[in-house]
């Protein structure tokens, strides 16, 4: 047998993120409330959400179903039906106020200033139109150009998102694309008008893990090239750790913790964040037992009094004066570190984490 040369795999290592500091906020959400009146009462989907995000930064919004993470992001694009939704507060994107914007202004705002990538590329692409048709439609909605020029732009975009042979692919239908390719096509469609704000709502949840890795790389690369701000909605903390600068943890329609990702995932201060970390089995290290959060998330029709998390919180009895049951905590800095905030009455949460929670993480 001849001496065999075993080739090495093509590997990539995700570079550690360098955070763009001191930038002015491009997206600014202030005291956002979103409510849906229903026959059973008013669903309080988002209850006073505030955050801001500069260009070139990625914010991950993390939470379980019903935490308000998707509802708040749809509000940023003005996607809620105004007849059946009650929205208050302010959402400013590049200085434009989105809450209360007219339908006509929304049409020119969506796509050009902010765009969205959805979870399921199968159902978010129209099966009757070619990929090219769908990309050129959104390009021509904002640019007064010929069909030919728009198609050239579509081919260019498909190439940029890594679709091989884009000039042939542009005339194909969504069913001729694989799941990962469809997600790439949707990203091309979202970015065709150079929006400065990209909202990605669970963009990789429906994808296999090897494809997910490619899409995460692609979003990070495009963000660097286009200099946009990215809001990344997910429930996968592993994904957050690899791609985000900041993280916002939501629970029952409220932000419960907000700050730089390495701090919040490395040493969180809110008992709900602790519960999340204790619920995730790791792929490396020694497998330990899981400590799930007891009970289930609250109904948005009948929110618990005081802190929304108190019925499931094992630390509520540490707080004196029955505060957790009676008073909703503010989202403010709880330790000497002013760069991170949390919504919990517990005293010295950093010490509680280190002595009690950290040793039992799986």
């Amino acid at each position: 047998m001849t001496e065999q040369t075993v080739r090495a795999p093509q590997t990539v290592t995700r570079a550690p993120r360098t955070r763009a500091e001191g930038e002015e906020a491009y997206l600014e959400v202030t005291d956002l409330h979103v409510q849906f009146p229903t026959a059973d009462g008013r669903v309080q989907a988002v209850q006073g959400l505030s955050y801001s995000l500069p260009l070139r930064r990625t914010l991950a919004i993390v939470g379980e179903s019903g935490s308000g993470k998707s509802v708040s992001s749809m509000a940023i694009l003005g996607l809620h039906d105004r007849k059946s939704t009650w929205i208050s507060g302010s959402i400013k994107v590049g200085g434009k106020e989105v809450v209360g914007m007219s339908e006509k202004d929304l049409m020119s705002y969506r796509g050009a200033d902010a765009a969205m990538i959805f979870q399921d590329p199968q159902s978010s692409l129209h099966p009757f139109f070619t990929i090219g048709d769908q990309i050129t439609e959104s390009y021509r909605a904002h640019h007064n150009v010929s069909k030919r020029a728009a198609k050239a732009r579509a081919v260019d975009m498909l190439g940029r998102v890594g679709i091989p042979n884009p000039s042939r692919r542009v005339d194909q239908y969504p069913h001729e694309f694989s799941g990962g390719m469809r997600q790439r096509a949707m990203i091309a469609m979202a970015l065709v008008n150079d929006p400065k704000l990209l909202i990605a709502d669970e963009p990789t949840t429906a994808l296999d893990v090897t494809v997910q890795a490619q899409i995460l790389d692609l979003i990070a690369d495009l963000q660097r090239d286009f200099g946009s701000a990215v809001v990344f909605i997910t429930h996968d903390l592993g994904v957050v750790a690899e791609i985000a600068d900041d993280i916002l943890v939501m629970y029952g329609g409220n932000a419960v913790e907000h700050g730089p990702v390495e701090k919040i995932l490395g040493a969180p201060l809110h008992p709900y964040s602790w519960g999340l970390l204790e619920s995730i089995p790791a792929v490396s290290g020694t497998p330990g037992p899981l400590h799930p959060i007891p009970g289930s998330p609250p109904s948005l029709l009948a929110m618990p009094s005081g802190c929304a998390f108190h019925p499931r919180c094992e630390f509520r009895d540490r707080v004196g004066g029955d505060l957790c049951r009676t008073l909703k905590p503010e989202l403010i800095p709880r330790t000497a570190d002013q760069g991170r905030t949390s919504r919990c009455h517990l005293k010295e949460p950093d010490k509680v984490f280190e002595t009690e929670v950290l040793p039992r993480l799986p």
Partner: protein, 351 residues
């Protein structure tokens, strides 16, 4: 080998594993195009899978969508009749057994489904759903059906007083518990769980995982646990098998498979999992980038099915199909001509 017949009518070969699959194949007919479709094509969903499970053991099946793991679940539970191969339960081949003869086996091999919304009849109460399983298998005890249903609900952590409620009155995690109670009603020896926690939120997922783990410890039930989440499988399983395009590419004890995977595909798969450890100072791992997409199962590549995306592929890979076998080094069995443990640690070290 001596064969004994149990009271339930199940035969059993002494010394045989609880469950054994030998070169099982499942080919589905693919629809041709047009009225004059000729030359029928076959989707080779599962093409030669062999595995065995001992009593009380948990085997994890992982792989990406379309690799045949769910089809394997349906073959083990005999919801599908295999095209070829043997499915042995306690040494008795049930691959082509008649529906009538299968009955007692169905009781011992139960299935938990992925979607707790579509796998429960919305017009039946929880009591009816679990009670039907009891009656179907003739498992109604002397104390009465209701008493046993309530016991089962308590075992899975539901309020036994809720037996007359409908599925829509429960949350996703609670519904999954109902599905588990239904599977337990038959007192199975093996449960095939097809993505049992992937539709659930993180905190609820951990609750259901702990429940399954307690059941395994207390009742000694064996599991075939199918999931795409490699962390979940690592947490739950004693042994893990990796599938790719209808074939098993690697199988072995959990720690060996996760720490020193030998098949290039296993290595690529593990390297792609995002790791929360990076925020705690674990250096980012080298991720193996696979070229192209998974080939179509209608027309899979000759020889090794992974060769079209493999960086080690040589001429032999296209001509000779590698057997799933033990190599001189490593603790896993692997189907690859060039299997070797990873050169550098691709799986991040624990902190």
């Amino acid at each position: 080998m001596t064969t004994t017949t149990e009271k339930s009518g199940i035969k059993r070969v002494e010394g045989a594993p609880l469950l054994e699959l030998n070169d099982v194949k499942m080919h589905f007919r693919a629809k041709g195009e047009g009225l004059l479709a000729r030359g029928t094509k076959w989707v080779q969903a599962v093409d030669g899978v062999s595995l065995s499970v001992q009593p009380g053991e948990t085997l994890g099946l992982v792989g990406e969508s379309g690799c045949g793991k769910s089809t394997t679940a349906r073959l083990i539970t005999r919801l599908l009749e295999p095209t070829a191969g043997e499915i042995k339960y306690q040494g008795v081949d049930i691959a082509h057994m008649s529906e009538r003869k299968l009955r007692p086996y169905r009781r011992e091999i139960q299935l938990i489904f992925q979607d707790p919304y579509s796998s429960l009849n919305p017009r039946h109460t929880v009591g009816t759903i679990v009670g039907t399983a009891l009656r179907t298998h003739g498992m109604v005890p002397k104390g009465g059906e209701l008493k046993r249903v309530q016991e089962l609900l308590e075992v899975v952590g539901l309020n036994p007083e809720h037996y007359n409620r409908y599925p829509h009155e429960f949350s996703g995690g609670q519904r999954q518990r109902i599905g588990i109670a239904r599977a337990l009603a038959a007192r199975p020896k093996i449960i095939v769980a097809d993505e049992p926690v992937s539709a659930l939120d993180v905190s609820i997922q951990a609750q259901v995982m702990n429940l399954l783990e307690n059941l395994r410890k207390e009742l000694g039930i064996a599991f075939v646990f199918i999931a795409h989440d490699l962390g979940v499988v690592r947490h739950f399983c004693d042994r893990v098998a990796v599938m790719y395009l209808g074939r098993m590419v690697e199988e072995g004890p959990r720690d060996a498979l996760y720490e020193t995977p030998q098949h290039p595909y296993t290595q690529a798969l593990l390297s792609a999992v995002p790791d929360i450890g990076v925020v705690r100072g674990v250096p980012p791992k080298h991720r193996i980038r696979l070229v192209g997409d998974v080939p179509s199962p209608v027309d899979p590549p000759s020889g090794c099915r992974f060769r079209t995306r493999c960086w080690k592929a040589e001429d032999i890979c296209a001509t000779a199909d590698p057997a799933l076998e033990r190599k001189p080094v490593g603790d896993t069995v692997v189907a690859c001509h060039f299997a070797e443990p990873p050169v550098e640690s691709i799986v991040a070290e624990a902190v």
